[in-house]
């Protein structure tokens, strides 16, 4: 619908172009531009692993994993306004569920992973009832506590292998093929995560969630069942995070509770959401790639201060782009670009 409206008026833009930067900004904002960029990026991502070294395939796989995680976290945090420090709990449960289903029940991975996701969603529904009553900082703290409590439980269970860790049946394929398959698995999960994120934002559910984020009381008198909406958002986020946890289990083959319930990982993709642009569809993905690139760059040179980068990034975001990278591009870079372009055309 938007496309057809805009298709008609490039002519109007062209007339106004020379005099007003606003018109040019609007051209830059043309919906087809976004689609074009997305198509090019997808094509590049689809052929990239075949031309890259094993190291870079792994880095990109990790970037996609974080992009998918950040994007799923964004549903509860960005849309609904519930800061979830303990989202990693679903990653861990997803990893263990998938692993157990594969090793103990003999399920193939492609079946075990979605079941793991469903387990996470159910977990979110049951725990959401008490925990999602809490607002603001209280929910953030409770979610953090929850993830650490579950880690302790897993550490003391027999079926999970306790603190010794868990080994998933390995895929008997050559390492290079394995890496490329995992790459496409994470790439696919990112697409799923972003597609869900995109759909939610434009759906009735999305309107309800954004209303809840702005004013929960106001939302309830408009007829929004706030409890059910919050639980739906958390369960959706948990489902996708669980899938990614399952993929991680397959990728790493061996993991222990400290790996998959690591709160620092949770904080890392939370920072990515803020970095890219909270509450937007593309923001978390951009944030994941930015931070993972910087973090990889620093790690390969100064491994000791690598964690400090996370802290510095947070400070940088708060100081210079509190509303994220996407918002900064929209409000600062774009008008600047338009001004420069219109000036050069005018002469």
């Amino acid at each position: 619908m938007e496309g057809s409206v805009n298709k008609g008026d490039p002519a109007i833009h062209q007339v106004a172009q020379a005099t007003t930067p606003v018109a040019l900004t609007r051209l830059v904002e043309h919906p087809m531009l976004k689609v074009g960029i997305a198509v090019i990026l997808l094509a590049v991502a689809a052929i990239a692993p075949f031309g890259l070294t094993g190291y870079w395939v792994r880095v990109l796989t990790s970037m996609f994993m974080y992009a998918a995680l950040a994007s799923s976290l964004n549903i509860i945090m960005g849309y609904t306004g519930y800061t979830d420090f303990g989202n990693i709990v679903f990653f861990g449960i997803g990893a263990y569920s998938t692993g157990i289903l594969m090793r103990e029940a003999g399920l193939p991975f492609l079946l075990a992973m979605p079941v793991g996701g469903v387990v996470c969603a159910l977990f979110a529904v049951v725990l959401g009832l008490p925990i999602l009553r809490l607002r603001g900082y209280y929910f953030a703290i409770a979610s953090m506590g929850l993830s650490q409590a579950v880690r302790e439980v897993v550490r003391n269970m027999e079926i999970t292998g306790g603190a010794k860790g868990f080994t998933v049946p390995m895929w008997r394929v050559p390492p290079r093929t394995f890496n490329i398959l995992i790459y496409f698995l994470m790439f696919g999960l990112t697409l799923i995560s972003v597609a869900i994120s995109h759909w939610v934002l434009r759906s009735r559910l999305g309107y309800g969630l954004r209303a809840i984020k702005a004013d929960e009381e106001g939302a309830s008198v408009m007829g929004i069942d706030t409890t059910r909406h919050k639980i739906a958002a958390w369960a959706l986020s948990a489902f996708v995070t669980g899938l990614i946890g399952g993929a991680y289990a397959l990728w790493f083959v061996y993991f222990n509770p400290d790996d998959v319930f690591n709160i620092l990982v949770s904080v890392k993709y939370l920072v990515m959401v803020y970095l890219g642009g909270i509450g937007t569809v593309a923001g978390p993905v951009i944030g994941a790639f930015l931070l993972e690139y910087v973090s990889d760059f620093i790690w390969s040179r100064f491994s000791v201060i690598h964690l400090g980068v996370l802290g510095l990034t947070v400070i940088f975001i708060v100081l210079f782009m509190p509303r994220g990278f996407l918002h900064m591009v929209k409000t600062r870079v774009r008008p600047l670009l338009a001004r420069v372009m219109s000036r050069s055309r005018g002469n």
């Binding site: 009735r204 309800g208 954004r210 209303a211 702005a214 004013d215 009381e217 106001g218 309830s220 408009m222």
Partner: protein, 264 residues
Amino acid sequence: MTAILELREVSKHFGGLAAVDKVGFGVEQGEIMGVIGPNGAGKTTLLSCISRLHPLTGGQIFFNEKRIDTLKPHQIAKLGIGRTFQIVKPFTGMTVKENVAVGALYGRAGHSGSVPEAVAQADEVLERVGLAHRADYPTDEITIPDRKRLELARALAMDPALLLLDEVMAGLNPHETDEMMDVIREINKGGTTIMVIEHVMRAIMGISHRIAVMHHGKLIALGPPKEIADDDRVIEAYLGERFAQAKRARQVAGQAAANKPAAE
């Protein structure tokens, strides 16, 4: 005519304070019921009791003969009660149109479920309240009077059978107040029952069929605007006992009662 809303001995206490104290009256189907009273009289608290943002301390509330004080806020909204807030609560981060679309998407049960339909309805409602030119603005970039209109538009998009308005005219200039009065009358003509809290005397006297007066949490008078303006208890509540005595002596305080609160 039957009562669409009935309050029976409704009480709301905050600790030792009886913010609403055994208030009972009915709102007739199709009327505009005004609620006035000095600051702190319990008007907004009463509204919040109806939309169930406050659980009642005592009493019962019926809507279309169905008891609603045991329901949750969103269930009450689904039955067809919409409200606005005195301290506006726009959904920040959404445009004006999106705000109103929320009302159309949720609101009364059996209402539109699809987003494009709701957005179309939002456009219609924005036109009605004179906010169409701000449809695509973020809510933090519109003026206070426009935010008041947004409050009304959002509640209106819910297609309510009963609309509770909490000071939608506060802060509007006389011309804007007239416009808002017309809008409210139009909504009422469309069949919506309205209960309206207002401090602007000229407005509330002008649009209400009946007026309820509250003071210290109690209902002290109820009747047509003319009667209310002459009621000694009302004048006493607003201006103090001395004025009431003076009025009895001179019969001019009625005028003062109408003027003084209007200056607030």
